[in-house]
Structures are given as C-alpha cells and as structure tokens.
C-alpha cells in the first residue's frame, strides 16, 4: 500500500513539473474570432517556437542548402517574395505560383492558393519536396538535422526527446508560424479607438467603399473568409491554372482561388496567385473594369463596380492602413542569430 502511495505521489509531482514547462499562451487580439488551430494538440512553448524559427531560416531544408523558407517568405515584406511574379527555388528554378504573404495562420483552415494543404502542420512538406522549390524530402532533412551540431540539443530542449521525428519537426515549424500574427496596423488602432489615432478623410472614405464592395470576401478583421472564390481573373494560358478544382474535381470550383488576406498588402506585391498585377491601382482597376464573366464567377462581382478616380485613390489609402510596422520589424520573427552564431554550422 505504501508503495502505491509513493508511486501516485511521484506521478503527481511529474504532472506538476511538466505543467510548469514554459507553456506560452497564444494571445487572441481583442474582438477577433477564435483561432482554428487546435493548440491543445501542440501547446506553444518558447523552446519549440525558437526551434521552428531556426528551421524556418535554415537552408539545410533544401537539396543544395541554398534556399530556406525565408527565401520566398521574407519578414520585411510580410513574409512573401516581392518582385517575383512566380516563386524562385533551388538552381534558379521557377515555380508556377506567386508566394503568398504569411499572416495569422492560426486562423487558416486550408492552405495554398487551391487549398491543397489541409493543416498548417503539413505545409512544410510541400515546399521541401517540390522540385522547383527546395527539391529535397523530409527524410533527407531529418537525416541532416540529426547530424548537425545544433539541432539535436534544440529538439531535446523543445520536446524532451532526442529522437528527431517528422512529427516533432512539423509541430515545431507550426509553432513558429502560429506566432506570426499581424494585429497592430493603423486600421486595428482605429478599430480599438486608441487615443490620438483616426482615419484621414480619404482613408475613411476608402474604408466605406471597401465595406461596400470588398468586405464580403476580404472580411474583417482577418481580411479573408478563408474560402475559395473566382474573382474574375482571365486564365493565363501559359499556366492554365484552374485553382481549387485540381483538389476537389468539382466543376463549381473551376477558377476559384483562396481569398488572400489583405493585411500588409502594401508589401505583398506582385498580386494574385500568378503575380499578374504589380500595383494596388491595377488590382482596383481589375475589379472595376476587367472582370471576366464565366460560370463560376462570384455573383458578388457580377454587377459592375463603378469607382471614380478619387474613390480609387481613397481605396488605396485605406488598404495602406493595413500595414503593420510592428509586425514587419518584430524581432521575435527575425533570423535567430543567437542560435546560428553560437555554434559552428556543419
């Protein structure tokens, strides 16, 4: 009997000790919906976040160690690849789609322009294996991590397990991505009625127009409905990308692409899944004058949108209030010097 009591006491001590294990709470910005990611399956912890961040910045993930996630998803440009219409991978290979900006992934349901990825955890497998992106595979990546001089101890610290498994690798990458939250743009400050912050009359008018014409797909506060729509782009016959239908094989999904968030849209140029527009003016002109009518066009865009030249300027002024400087320069998202400087790389 005594033995059992001791045993139970021991288990209790262990549970208490594990509970206190640097759990980091995910902060939901005021008035935002509940995140979609199930944090109970992968509770945030600072060592795991740091590990994920190191992996995000490490070209060891690519076949020839030249390309990291950040090569295509650069923090200062809202985690996208500016200037390239289509993404560039190893050996200068060019992909078939434009890298999207990464923000607020804890609220994401399906990932990629066509929703090919069904869970944030599974996202890294796609670029790692894609021949035009990182051109490697998860087994090679884990093999290299096991032999590296820094990762075995980082994995041990994070997971209390020195075996570097696919599950732990993917969960750590998710942890870092989940922390990438943009919620402090001028727009947010205005919504929170912070002292001394207000829209200019141009911005306010742009916001009014936005709520009339754009809100139903680019829904606040995330500026996306996290669903797939045809917004009237013509088919680029050099790519013949029909979007979501590739995954669902449902003709209703032909030409439907994921509605991107417009947070930090100032920096996510070029725009659309194939990067066809260089400026926000061009995007707005698309919505006012060049909508392509087809069977799957969203009914919301069926009726033409009329905007005067001034209204277009106001709309752009509003979109620029979605720029979140704190996010773009947040040190918590940047290259983790402390890890890569302290140990020699293999």
């Amino acid at each position: 009997m005594k033995k059992y009591l001791l045993f139970v006491f021991g288990v209790w001590i262990m549970i208490v000790a594990l509970k206190g294990d640097d759990e980091t709470k995910f902060r939901i910005p005021k008035n935002w919906p509940k995140p979609v990611y199930e944090f109970n399956k992968n509770p945030l912890n600072k060592d795991k976040i740091l590990l994920g961040r190191a992996l995000f910045y490490d070209p060891v993930l690519s076949a020839d160690s030249t390309i990291s996630c950040t090569s295509c998803h650069l923090q200062y440009t809202a985690f996208t690849h500016v200037d390239h219409t289509l993404s560039h991978g190893i050996n200068g290979r060019i992909g078939t789609r434009n890298a999207p900006a990464l923000t607020n992934m804890a609220w994401g349901t399906l990932f990629m322009w066509d929703g090919a990825v069904n869970h944030l955890d599974m996202q890294p497998l796609a670029p790692i294996s894609h021949p035009d992106e990182m051109g490697s595979n998860i087994d090679t990546v884990l093999f290299r991590l096991r032999r590296s001089s820094i990762y075995p101890s980082l994995f041990y610290k994070a997971f209390k397990d020195s075996a570097i498994t696919g599950e732990h690798f993917l969960k750590a990458m998710s942890q870092f991505m989940l922390t990438i939250v943009s919620s402090n743009a001028k727009y947010d400050q205005v919504m929170r009625k912070e002292k001394g912050i207000a829209f200019t009359s141009q911005e306010a008018n742009g916001y009014r127009l936005f709520r009339t014409y754009c809100e139903s797909c680019h829904k606040e506060p995330l500026f996306t409905i996290n669903d797939f729509r045809n917004n009237g782009l013509s088919v680029d016959t050099t790519l013949n990308d029909y979007g979501r239908i590739k995954i669902t094989h449902d003709s209703k999904d032909s030409l439907c692409f994921k509605v991107p968030s417009l947070r930090n849209v100032e920096f996510s140029y070029p725009y659309m899944h194939d990067g066809r527009f260089a400026t926000l003016q061009q995007v707005i002109n698309h919505y006012t004058t060049s909508i392509q009518h087809s069977a799957t066009l969203s009914p919301l865009l069926d009726k033409p949108i009329f905007l005067t030249a001034n209204e277009k300027v106001d709309m752009v002024a509003f979109l620029l209030t979605l720029t979140d400087k704190e996010f773009l320069f947040n040190r918590a998202y940047s290259f983790p010097k402390e890890i890569f400087m302290s140990a020699p790389k293999e």
Binding site: Y4, A126, I138
Partner: protein, 229 residues
C-alpha cells in the same frame, strides 16, 4: 487525499485486471498465391500475368474491431498500424482483450479515416516520414504497391500504385469484415497476386492521386484479404 486513495485503489484494480488479459495476435500474411511474398525476387510468372518483382508493399490497417455476429465486442484503442512487407515485425498486431469476450468476426479499415487525415502532424506509424504521406496535397497513402513487370512499357518497367484520398468524391478507405474460423490467433491472408492479376498492367501502371481509378483499385485491394483456413 480521498482522491489519491481512490486512484490507488483504481490502479490496484487495473494492475490486477491486466494479468487476466488475453493477448490475441492478428497476423497479416502477405502472400503471392500459395507462397509467402518475397520482395525484390522474381515471382513465378504464369499465363495471367507478366509480373517479375514486387519491391514495396505497405498499407495501413486501422480501426480493428471484433464482433460477435453483428455486435461490437471489442474495439482496439487508437488503432492504426502500418503493415510493411519489408518489416516482418510490423505484420503482427497484438490485441489486448479483456477476459471473456466472445467473437466470431473481425473488422478493420484498409486505410486512414478522414478525421485523422485532417488532424495535423502525428507520430508513430502516422509520422509523415513513413513514406505514406503525400506532399503536394495533404493526405495519407492508404495502400502502396510498387514493382516491375515486363508488361509495363514504362521507365525500368516499373509500376506504382499509391492509393489514397480521404474526401468526397474520392474517399478510398475500405472497410473489411471477415468471419473467423478460430479465435486464439487470427491469421489474415493478403494475396497480392489476385490484386495484380486483375489489373491490365500494360495500360494501368501508375496511380498516384486521389481519383476514380484509385477508388476502383482500393476496392480491389480490399478484396484480397481473407482468413486463413
């Protein structure tokens, strides 16, 4: 304090009970006709097929359940097993049954259910490093068969069947129910030759995406399981 005492008593009961548990092995025997399946070696050719080798055979078995007639009498908790013909140890699953369960049928899924498919990264047999997870589109491969046949006019005469897909209209998981002859050990035969013989390898030798074809082949793959007499 009372709580601890309850826990103590409970744990005593549990440990007591476990000694009365009944361990029943479920053995998946992958065969080619009447002989155990030999990977990488020439399989004897007959009129029906030009097969020369099988190089890889892996499949997921999940949701193992025992039934007495149509009543469920036991469901294995978190039941997922990757059967890999290259790893004999993976082909035996031990079921820990409580004492006094009576059953005469077994049921299991060939493949991974849709909930598990959308639940993010998992470990053990579900770890995506097991070569059973697609990368360009999320989802587990339920059944993987690779080999060579001179019927295939492909590179190195190879054929590849990666069968999977968890969502409508291409949900390819298959439920299999078999009547048992004996219950102290359960031996399930999977005769790969009956699968291969029913495929026209000259025209059908590469299926790697969820599709109508993958559904058809998944049903075929499920049909090769039987109970050893």
């Amino acid at each position: 304090m009372y709580r601890y005492i309850t826990v103590v008593i409970l744990s005593m009961i549990c440990t007591h009970n476990s000694s009365a548990q009944n361990v029943v092995p479920v053995i998946f025997r992958n065969v080619w006709g009447n002989t155990p399946l030999q990977l990488d070696s020439s399989l004897h050719t007959n009129q029906d097929t030009n097969i020369s080798t099988i190089n890889n055979l892996k499949y997921y078995v999940s949701g193992i359940t025992l039934l007495h007639n149509s009543d469920v009498v036991f469901s294995e908790p978190s039941s997922v097993h990757l059967i890999d013909a290259r790893m004999p140890s993976s082909c035996t699953v031990m079921l820990n049954l409580p004492k006094d369960v009576f059953y005469n049928r077994i049921s299991f899924n060939l493949g991974i259910d849709s909930i598990t498919n959308v639940s993010g990264a998992m470990g053990g047999d579900l770890d995506p490093t097991k070569g059973m997870y697609w990368t360009w589109q999320s989802g587990y491969i339920n059944y993987k068969l690779e080999g060579k046949s001179n019927a295939c006019k492909t590179r190195n005469n190879e054929f590849h069947f990666h069968l999977g897909g968890y969502s409508y209209p291409f949900a390819s998981i298959q439920k299999i129910v078999l009547n048992l002859e004996r219950t102290d050990s359960i031996v399930i035969i999977a005769d790969v030759s009956t699968f291969v013989k029913q495929i026209d390898l000259a025209n059908e030798n590469s299926v790697m995406i969820p599709s109508e074809q993958a559904m058809k082949l998944s049903r075929l793959a499920a049909s090769i399981f039987s109970i050893q007499k």
